[in-house]
Every structure is written in C-alpha cells, then in structure tokens.
Symmetry: C2
C-alpha cells in the first residue's frame, strides 16, 4: 500500500513539473529592451546572407556593438519551403551557406542571431508559416543557434492570438535553447494584456513607415503609420512594460532617408524614453555620420537600457509641445521636451511647479494644457545633463531655458545632488 | 511587356491552384456512413497490437466484413511520445511491431486501418496531442498507411475548433493519402454548421456510455450520456448530413453488456435510421450470438448505408412512443416504431392518415401527439418488409398492426408496388 501511495505521489509531482515546464517562456532574457538590427525596414524581401554578414561586420566596426547593440535579425523571406520531413528550408539561392553557418558567423563576431516566422499558414511575404509546424520550426531554430525569433501575424484567419503565441513559446521552451520571443501581432488584441508570460516583447502597432507622419493612418484609413502615430499609440501602455516584457512600437527608421535629422533624433530619443527595443533598420554598411551619432549616443541608450526597466510616458501635453518623463535607477530621471511644431521655439521649464512656457520669436505661445500628470517627481535638487549637447547644464534650482527646433527634442538626465 | 504580363498571370494561376489544394478535404470518401470497429468502448486505454490483430481476424470470420464493416480503428493510448525529430512514436510495449506493421496486417485482411489523435496539446488519455505537430503527424499517418483518423478535443484551451480541425484536414491533404477525417469535438460549437467542408463525420454529443439512459446527463449534470440522450441530441440535425459528411452520435455499445437485447436492437436500429456511422465497440473475439445478429442484420445495415444518404428523423412523437422516417434510394423508405416504455404494447398504424394508436393489455393508451411532421410521405401503395422479423408483412393498403416490446423497435422497409 505504502509503495503504491508513494508512486502515485511521485507521478503527480512529475506531472506538475512537466506541466510547468510545458507552459513558460525563457526567463532572464531581455531584462533590458533588446538592441540590434533587423533587415526589414531597409531591405524588405531583398535579403541574402552577404547582407547579413556585412551588417554584422559593420555593427562591430562602427561602434554599435560597443554601444550595446547585439542582435542581427533576419526578417521575412529567408525561407524557401519545407523538406520531405516538413522541416523549414532556407532559400538556397539567397542563403547558400545555410542558416546555421550564418548564425555561426554572427556569433563569431560576438553578436547574437535572430530569425523570423509567422503564426499563420504563410508569412506576410507568402513564405511557409509555422502553423502546424511550430515544434519542428522551434527545433530547427534551436539547432541552428538562433537567439531571437520575431513571430508575425499574417494569414491567421480563425486563430486565437494568445493561444497561437503560447504554442510557439512552448515549442521554443521545449526545444531548449533560450530564444528571445518577439510577438508581432500589431496590437490587434491588446497583447499587453496577455503577453507578459508569453513573449519578451510585443508589437503594439502596425508596421512603422519611413515617415514622420501619415495623416491617413491617424484617421484609421491605413494600417501602417509613421513615427508620430506609433509614438502616440504607446500612451497608457507604460504600466505593462518591465524587465523581460516590453511594449514594442516597432523598429527604427533612423538612417533610412525618410526623416530629417531633427526627426530622426526625436524618433530615437522618444523610443528610448519609452524603453522601446532599439532595433536599427537602416543599411549599416552605408551609414551617414549623423545617423550613426544618433544611434550610438551612449547617454540616450543608457536611458533606454536603464535597469529599473520603467517605460517613460507623457506628463505634460500642451498640444504640439510635450514633456515626457522616465524614472531611472538610483532615483535618476529622464525628461524629454518634444516639439511637434515645424518651427523652432524657446522653452522655459520651472522645476518647482513642473510647468512649461514657450515663445516663438520672443512672442509667448498660448499653451493649452491637455495632459497634466501630477506625480510630484521632483523632490530636492538635481543636476542636469543634456544628452544631445553632451554637457552639464546646471541644476533644477533654476528654470531650464533652451531653444528647441521644430520636430526636435531636448533630453535631460537628472541626478540628485542632495542624496548621499 | 507581353512576356512579363504572361508571367504574372501564370504566377497568379499557380497561387490560386495552390490555395485551393491547401484547403480541402479528400472527396469521395465516406459516401455512405463509415462502418467498422473502434477500441475505446470496450478496451479504453488497455489496448495492444494483439487486440487489434485478433479483432481484424474476428471481423473477417464472424461475417461483419461481409456485412459491410471495413475499418479497424485504434482509439487513444497507442502513443508513447515523440522521437528526437518530433515525430509521434507508438508505445513500444503495447505495439512492439509498430503501427505500420499493424496497418499492413489489417490491410492484408482486406480491411482498412484507422488511428486516433487529439487537436490539443495532450490527448484525453494524457498522451501527446497533435497541437503544433499537425503536419508531422499527418505525414506519419500517411506513411503508415492509415485510412481513418479520429481527432479528439481534449486540452484545447484557447483553440478555435473550426481552425484546429481545418488545420489537420489540410495537413492530411498535404500528406497525400486519402484518410477519412472523423471530427470528435462533442458538438460543443455546433460542428454541423461548419464541418461539412472539413471532415467526413463529426460527433454531435459527448461520449456515449454503456447505458440505456442516464438521467443525470439529461439534466446536464454530466457530460456523457446513454443511448437515449445521444439519440435525442440528433433531432433537427438531419439537414446537415449527406454523402461524405455525417452527423456522428458516437459509437455502438451493442455487445458490451449494458443494454438488454431489446435496447441493443433499438440502439442499432435507430443509429441506422439516423444514417449514423456504425462503429462497433465490443469485443469481437468474444461476441454473443444475439449481439452478432444485431450487428450484421443486412437489411438494417442497408437502411444505414442507403446511397441516397438521407438522415432519418422523428415524424411522430406521442410521448414515449415515436415513429422515425428515413427516405431511401429508389423511392423506398424506412419506418421505425420505437417504444420507450418498459412494457410491451400493441401498435396500429394507419398509412393513409399516418397516425398511430396503441393499446396495453387491450386497453387504449392515451397518446398525446407532441411532434407531427406532415411531409405526406405515402403516395400510392407500398409493400412492407419487417427488417427484424426478416419477412414480408403485407402492404400499406391495410393498417399495420403489431406488438412492440418495451425499449424495442419495429423497423419496416417500404417499397412502392405501384411504380414501374
């Protein structure tokens, strides 16, 4: 009797352990927002293994690796079909060396390697999707040395998003190699409400376009928007982000020619304020110095990568002029002034009342306060570091006064001078 | 320009062809309701390859094969796990020769071979389910020579039934071997409304139990019911059935000891009236003569297998006494009188008015007419064949008068004597 009872208890324990193992994501991955490069924004379907190799080379030589970028990610169109056993096969013309060799090459550069698939029957680019092949595909990725999977949402008619992404999460876990799982469901079913235990990041928007603003998208007439639309869709999502699980307003368009220098700086800065994944999407082998300086600004990146892992948010909105706030580790904080107007203004910020006034050509701008979150951020005195000017600019004992270009930002890092 | 245009047209055509091929079931299978044997009702999880072999032997020697039974179906618990590539592996202790050898054996007897899986992560018996492995599993079945798949619905939290069954349908089609696809979703999401293009039969009920009636189930207190409950759940579903797509009120319990002879005959007769799949679930190697005579009644089976493929239905319901009707090929028809009372009665049926009266011990029974479908079935004169008495019993020019045991049926086949 006793031994029977013990056996039953053992069986139950084993089952519980198995069930737990069967339904979890890899922990301790993406404790800060992932940083890297992805092929889609620049190359779309026109990719091949040389582009990936040269990009890895460039990431090392241009300072991006040193600045913290680590993932080289192939997006859609690397697949050609499936073999006789149903395993996914890379396009032999575009990737003649195979995916494993490519992953090995990327790893040899001290970088990590990522790949793409889709929860549906076909990918967005009409390549084989993972539906019905989830465990096989996860096994292939693990065998090849993949470190990151972007998992898209095309051709998923009738599928439940949470169930579909849970399935691939579990397939990855069963395959045994820690892989960052990037959920790309475009925010359709509010993944921030269900994806914390499923993925390490989840898209909150349609695909970003290489534009500052797309008014048609704002009116809901098209699915994909520009920088401003993707930014504005993050409002209110800050409470869902944290170490290991991030909102993803989509990859960067810095360096792709659709943004002015000011706009590119704003795009990058605001993504950092949002603790967004920083996935460059430009041609790293032919990067202009301005784009490079934006992408490797270490103080800006430090705000994104702050280990407290808080997503910043808008605390003041005066219409076209906004103030973003991001709490940082060790009681530091980041403040970002953002000017949506297409002309320069002068801003004056009073740290005591946390209020902003602005002038244009010395004439006061009438600022209607649309959002005013009074979280009483400032206690005591802080020194101020201007992230883009790369210099100290006084303390919070005085008003902050600066000129702010059209479509541009000022980002300040505040450090307490009263604390020990 | 011209050649480019032609290329584009060619590509579009190829894609359309591929899409069609990707989303269809095998046609011209199960043009009449499938007939066979399944391991579950008698053996549950306690199966092995010898049971299957001996059952195939018995089906040939006991006259069932000659009577039309053709499928030998393994239900749950044949699986042990998956191999290093993710392919499903049979339990090596219970099926040491492997599934292919077993299928070959069954085929060598002139029979067909079927197997079981589940749309969820685990089967109902806690074996590996097909979720995320659909294409691999379909490939294995095709390689082994499987002819029939019963696909269950346990452990499917978050899954959409239509999508899940479509996925396996497409996986089977891609694997290329014609396989009857038996949808076992228990009727939860009204599969009769969506499964016509997906499977060849679909369960409309919970699992049948080896009982005549389970009052708790009737009141919704338990999921699985007896013969009466599964019968009554077919009301109104007749319009969804037809050649290649059948309602399935679950397998037969004839010969499993839970039914009296009258009840077993009623169960079988009513399933035949319903054009239900006739899947025996008893131990064919130890069958009593009464059960065998029921299962191989060729006139009864002919009503089930009638090529017109119409599901019969209740045309008269007098409370505990009912009349079922099934139109047959060549203007024949089947009429079934069913007595739910647990005592014998005398029935008298007037073919002109299509009305029934009944007496018990020569005293009239008060029959309240609850259902009266007036489809005006009888035109002209018909000869009458009594299916269980196996003899001619006059024509419809006279009233039909007969005694009807408790829990029993009288089944009549009518053939027009006025037609050429």
């Amino acid at each position: 009797m006793r031994s029977t009872k013990l056996s039953i208890i053992t069986i139950v324990l084993v089952q519980v352990a198995c069930l737990n193992a069967f339904t979890q994501k890899f922990e301790n991955l993406a404790l800060t927002p992932p940083m890297g490069w992805n092929s889609w924004n620049k190359f779309g379907c026109n990719i091949n293994e040389n582009i990936i190799r040269y990009t890895a080379d460039a990431m090392v030589s241009n300072g991006m690796k040193e600045a913290g970028y680590s993932y080289i990610l192939i997006d859609d169109c690397w697949q050609a079909g499936r073999d006789s056993l149903g395993f996914i096969v890379a396009d032999p013309e575009k990737f003649p060396s195979g995916i494993k060799a490519l992953a090995d090459y990327v790893h040899s550069k001290g970088l990590k390697f990522g790949i793409y698939s889709c929860a549906g029957r076909k990918t967005c680019g009409n390549r084989p999707g993972s539906r019905g092949h989830e465990f096989q595909d996860a096994m292939s990725y693990a065998n090849w040395g993949v470190d990151y999977l972007k998992y898209d949402w095309c051709n998923t008619e009738g599928q439940n998003a949470s169930e579909s992404y849970s399935l691939m999460r579990d397939a990855l876990f069963e395959a045994g190699r820690p892989i960052v799982f990037s959920i790309c469901e475009w925010g359709l079913s509010k993944p921030w409400e269900w994806a914390t235990e499923i993925g390490h990041l989840w898209r909150t928007t349609g695909d970003i376009q290489n534009n500052w603003d797309i008014p048609d998208a704002k009116e809901g007439k098209c699915w994909a928007g520009g920088v401003l639309i993707n930014l504005d869709m993050q409002q209110g999502l800050e409470k869902y982000a944290g170490p290991g699980h991030w909102n993803d307003p989509d990859m960067l368009e810095v360096g792709n020619g659709g943004l002015t220098e000011n706009e590119a700086r704003s795009h990058f800065s605001l993504w950092c304020m949002l603790a967004a994944p920083l996935i460059a999407g430009n041609d790293l082998t032919q990067m202009d110095p301005v784009s490079k300086d934006i992408l490797i600004n270490k103080d800006m990146i430090a705000i994104d990568q702050d280990k407290l892992g808080k997503q910043g948010y808008k605390i003041k909105d005066y219409g076209e002029i906004e103030v973003y706030y991001k709490p940082l580790n060790n009681s530091d904080m980041a403040i970002c002034f953002f000017n949506r107007l297409d002309y320069p203004i002068q801003v004056e910020f009073d740290w005591t009342s946390m209020s902003l006034s602005a002038t244009r050509d010395s004439k006061p701008l009438l600022l209607g306060l649309k959002i005013d979150r009074k979280d009483n951020y400032i206690e005591g005195q802080y020194s101020i570091w201007n992230v883009w000017q790369k210099k100290s600019v006084g303390t919070t004992s005085q008003k902050f006064i600066a000129s702010l270009q059209g479509h541009d930002v000022i980002v300040l890092r505040l450090t307490s001078v009263t604390k020990k």
